[in-house]
């Protein structure tokens, strides 16, 4: 909701629909590390996608393709839950 709205115009109960929200670019929150994937070790279990709190795991349909660095906060959850070690945290050069 880009502008402050009167109570009459707000969605009832403050329900938020995707097209009404500004998607914050949380990638700027990273403090030195970002995930890097070795696709040859990936078994496409999608645990990283399930655990990622910021929609930073990119899929093509149901196939893992990598990360959206503009959203990744560098929390490392994906690297922790990856069962094959296909994700590791590397220095963030940005």
């Amino acid at each position: 909701m880009p502008e402050l709205t009167s109570w009459r115009d707000l969605p009832v109960g403050g329900v938020v629909s995707p097209d009404e929200t500004v998607q914050p670019r949380t990638g700027g929150w990273r403090t030195g590390l970002k995930p890097e994937a070795d696709l040859s070790a990936c078994v496409n279990c999608l645990l990283c996608w399930l655990y990622c709190p910021d929609s930073a795991v990119r899929l093509d349909g149901t196939t893992f393709t990598g990360f959206d660095e503009s959203l990744c906060k560098g929390c490392e959850l994906c690297a922790v839950v990856c069962p094959t070690g296909a994700i590791r945290m590397v220095p963030d050069e940005d």
């Binding site: 709205t5 109960g13 403050g14 329900v15 938020v16 629909s17």
Partner: protein
């Protein structure tokens, strides 16, 4: 009187509420037992066990969980009813506020019971008053018939798109929940058709239109979102009338948000909630037979409180005594405070009488005593039935 009623059966208010729930046939009933509400859920659970109702009963570990589960299921898209009393409602209280804010139309059957402490299982209205400002609608039944009828009406009021608020159907613990009297039930099909299908604007499980519900609100939006409940409560008054009119068509029984009784020429009137209204009506009849001009204003909708109608109903009554079955230590009893504000700048002398806390009986003689005493100015609350009170009974 046009009616599709099939039978009058002798049953308690608790059983009547359970029958209403069976006929409504909700999808989900998250509930935790507590006296004097227990007969409601016990009766309904038996209907489910016997295959006469299909609801998913969720046996939660507390009332806090019951109300939380109720919000989840109501917003997911399932018609949801719960029931509680006293400490149960106290434990639900923080979640009742959230249900109202998230606009979850949960129907709640309440067996009114005194809040601890001391611990007590009998009737007063302190539990209702605890959630007075929660944004939940509160309808008070006078007897088992009304408890049944208001339960059948409640889903349509709660789920109306202009309302979308929890509705508490309040019946006095034991006095109504456990007292057997004749109750006329609707035919199952008529009740079911009356409540209709459950529809809410944004079911959470509608994955084609995903939503975030219950988001955090900062100072820039909290105030506006809270104010939406004020508008919803205002709409609920006319929705109550609409639903009551539709209900009259199938039952022959018409409900109003207030019920004036013998007020036209009254020089003295009592105002009260719940089963006490029935006793007061008897006393009014007796005193009228002796030529006394007394009357009653029974408040059926405590939230939303129909202030304009109350003002109109009492506009020619010089002496008004408000009976509160709850107190506010250090302040004014809740219904009295409402009436004082409602009748501000009228000529009415408004007085406060507290009674019946923790199930203390209120006898017809007590009520006649209030009528006898109220024709002189009193500014402080009186405590009817309290030992060593200024006005002993």
């Amino acid at each position: 009187m046009r009616t599709s009623a099939i039978s009058a059966r002798v049953m308690t208010g608790g059983e009547a509420a359970a029958e209403a729930m069976r006929q409504i046939d909700p999808d989900v009933v998250p509930v935790y037992p507590i006296t004097p509400q227990t007969p409601i859920i016990q009766g309904f659970a038996k209907f489910v066990a016997d295959g006469r109702a299909r609801a998913e009963i969720v046996n939660v570990e507390s009332e806090h969980s019951a109300m939380s589960a109720a919000i989840g299921s109501a917003l997911a898209g399932a018609r949801t009813i719960t029931a509680t009393s006293s400490q149960g409602l106290a434990l639900m209280a923080e979640v009742v506020y959230i249900a109202a804010a998230m606009r979850a139309p949960v129907v709640m059957a309440l067996g009114n019971r005194a809040l601890s402490g001391p611990i007590n299982i009998h009737c007063d209205h302190s539990d209702s008053m605890l959630v007075r400002d929660s944004g939940a609608i509160q309808l008070f039944a006078e007897n088992a018939q009304e408890a049944y009828d208001l339960m059948v009406m409640a889903p349509r009021i709660a789920e109306h798109p202009d309302v979308l608020l929890p509705v508490l159907v309040c019946q006095d613990g034991f006095t109504i929940t456990h007292s057997a009297e004749p109750v006329v039930l609707l035919a199952d099909g008529a009740a079911r058709r009356f409540v209709g299908d459950y529809r809410i604007p944004h079911p959470l499980l509608e994955v084609s239109t995903p939503t975030t519900q219950g988001p955090f609100a900062m100072p820039d939006y909290y105030y506006e979102l809270r104010h939406q409940q004020v508008a919803a409560m205002a709409a609920a008054l006319s929705v109550f009338d609409e639903v009551a009119e539709a209900f009259e068509h199938i039952s022959g029984r018409r409900y109003h948000s207030i019920e004036p009784y013998e007020l036209e020429d009254a020089d003295r009137a009592l105002v009260c909630l719940g089963s006490t209204g029935g006793t007061v009506k008897d006393v009014v009849d007796e005193l009228r037979a002796q030529g006394e001009r007394v009357g009653l204003l029974e408040v059926r909708a405590f939230r939303p409180l129909p202030v304009d109608r109350i003002r109109a109903a009492l506009r020619f009554v010089p002496w008004v005594a408000v009976l509160d079955r709850a107190d506010s230590p250090g302040g004014r009893p809740p219904l009295y405070a409402e009436l004082l504000a409602t009748l501000h700048r009228t000529d009415a002398h408004v007085q406060s009488y507290v009674y019946g806390l923790g199930g203390r009986e209120l006898h017809p003689d007590d009520i006649a005593g209030v009528f006898a005493r109220m024709s002189q100015e009193r500014l402080e609350p009186e405590y009817v039935g309290l030992r060593e009170a200024e006005c002993p009974v």
